[in-house]
Symmetry: C2
Subunit: 356 residues, 2 copies
């Protein structure tokens, strides 16, 4: 605590990102990164952007990337907003659409940054408990609110909800924004982007960090009605006019231009996910069907914290959340087949040592 | 206006950045970009960063860059914060150190984003008028305040204040942060970074966009006491954990490693600035001595708006602010000698047509 901190800064409980080890000795299954590199076209675009034009500011309106995303999803450019990772897009959204007078709703078990954003912008949050199977209880969101935030698939549960459930929610909340965080939607889910044509209150947020292997470039985006996108631009231009640098813009455009590579890597991750899920279940783990690039697992006999520590000793990082309801679960990113073989082998060693 | 906007979003008056033309036909003297490319080492670092590791998040703590900046300025790594351009660092600073209960002070004529940040974070701003020579009246800042924001050199006036004036201000405001925005300090000024050893309330903000020719990469930083840097990190980690992408981190590190190139380009800009200032004065313009990479000029007979429009017709962009006190001034970035020759020639044509 410092006398120089504002009351806001003093009150914050910041988000804690997953560990980014400084050396490479670990198998990293802890931050939901894609095990495959970005499209070679994206890498080439970054190299091409490394020229004297970097002395110039990037386009603050990000026109070229916005037009690319609009084309890709069949919406108008005025319906697309891009930001410095989906985290920034989410932060701007909390500022743009929610207000302190009414509670915003999100699940009790979900991306832990939502609560942090709510505190940062002085918003009341009402946490809606997931049901006992960790599914989103959509009917529980039918209550007075100032906005709803729902990831699909949810994290860290990995559970995908059907698009029709969102249709109902959007129709019953015509006066408030329903933010659908689709960070992981490309791994087999159906995007709600198509709903923005029907519902002016639907804001769909995605990232290039997961399915497009560009976590290191920080690009996220939102698709919604023009009035929502205008609201986001108002906030952005009151905070930071130039949020995406030139190589990031170039890489993102190139990624959307390489559909074949995108499809191929996403499918490989999904195939590995199915195989790993089967093996984990055979070993006694509970794992719900995953719609993401990670699985969320618990074992009836060995505590998650014990597994976490033992895996780390064997050079494998996974994510553990010391939170109510999920403190006996692990979130495990889907890596390459080789990485997952090593993960499964390590688990077998640990379980054997525990007498399972 | 949309019913989905928060009261905050509805109330904002966003910042308007200088024009970034989509084609290259213009001589761009409107956004204070460096006319010389970034260090070749920075470009090479970006190319090297364009590899498969981009699938991984960047280091959220930006350790390597922070250590490089700390070494460069002779401070501890705990005294350095980096962000996505100095605009983001400034925005985080307004959130971290100022509070709605007390007015923050900054000049009436200064970087127009300060007022926007104040509104965004619900802060009261008290504008202190520059004196009639557009100098910062330091004695006028000796009043009750919740923090002070002062650029040095000031923008768009280009006028540099002596470091001793900041010493006095820091000493007389021990309970509040004095933020010194040194976006342009490398063009001949003496940095206040050395003051952070004496004054725990000094926060010095700089950018790599101007003197290091990296506007296209979005890197800024702050140097201050450990408690101030911790405050910034609290805010950052409540907003966006990964603000700098991997190529930006690599480019910034490489830039600080190429001191010779940095010195050379800065000196070229300063030499051109002195020559241009002389020529402008010979043509009847008033131009205060500039400590930045731009000059701030006014002509006794031809209106600034007229000059702006006529220059644009001749393919030259400069910056005009339709604001009280400075609506008859132009801010003109220092380009290459060739660009400035074209600028001077265009002005001569315009003045001749006006009978001057």
């Amino acid at each position: 605590m410092s006398k120089y901190w504002s009351p806001l800064a003093a009150s914050l409980v910041p988000y804690v990102p997953g560990e980014q080890p400084k050396n490479k000795k670990f198998i990293k299954l802890n931050t939901n990164e894609n095990p495959y590199p970005p499209s070679p076209k994206a890498l080439e675009a970054i190299r091409e952007a490394a020229n004297g034009d970097l002395r110039l500011y990037p386009d603050p309106t990000c026109d070229a990337l916005i037009r690319k995303i609009a084309d890709y999803y069949g919406v108008r450019p005025e319906q697309v907003f891009v930001g410095n990772g989906s985290d920034e897009v989410l932060a701007f959204s909390f500022a743009a659409f929610f207000n302190p007078a009414e509670p915003i709703l999100f699940p009790d078990v979900t991306y832990s940054f939502y609560k942090v954003y709510a505190e940062f912008f002085g918003l009341k949050a009402e946490l809606i408990p997931l049901n006992e199977r960790f599914e989103v209880p959509f009917e529980q969101f039918e209550r007075q609110n100032g906005g709803i935030v729902l990831p699909n698939p949810n994290a860290p549960t990995a559970i995908l909800a059907p698009l029709d459930a969102f249709r109902g929610l959007l129709a019953r909340n015509p006066d408030h924004v329903v933010l659908i965080d689709e960070a992981y939607i490309d791994f087999g889910g159906e995007s709600a982007v198509k709903l923005v044509h029907e519902y002016p209150n639907a804001l769909v947020v995605q990232t290039l960090s997961k399915s497009r292997s560009l976590a290191g470039m920080r690009v996220g985006f939102a698709v919604g009605s023009e009035e929502l996108i205008e609201g986001l631009n108002r906030v952005k231009n009151s905070f930071n006019s130039y949020t995406l640098d030139r190589p990031a813009l170039a890489a993102a455009i190139a990624s959307f231009e390489d559909e074949a590579y995108f499809r191929q890597t996403v499918e490989r991750v999904m195939l590995t996910r199915e195989a790993v899920t089967d093996k984990l279940r055979q070993m006694g783990f509970h794992a719900a069907d995953s719609g993401a690039n990670f699985v969320f697992i618990t074992h009836p006999k060995v505590a998650a914290k014990k597994l976490l520590d033992s895996l780390r000793e064997q050079g494998i990082l996974v994510r553990y959340f010391n939170q109510p309801r999920i403190s006996n679960h692990l979130r495990v990113t889907i890596g390459t087949d080789e990485e997952m073989d090593a993960f499964i082998a390590a688990l077998q060693t640990i379980l054997a040592a525990e007498g399972c």
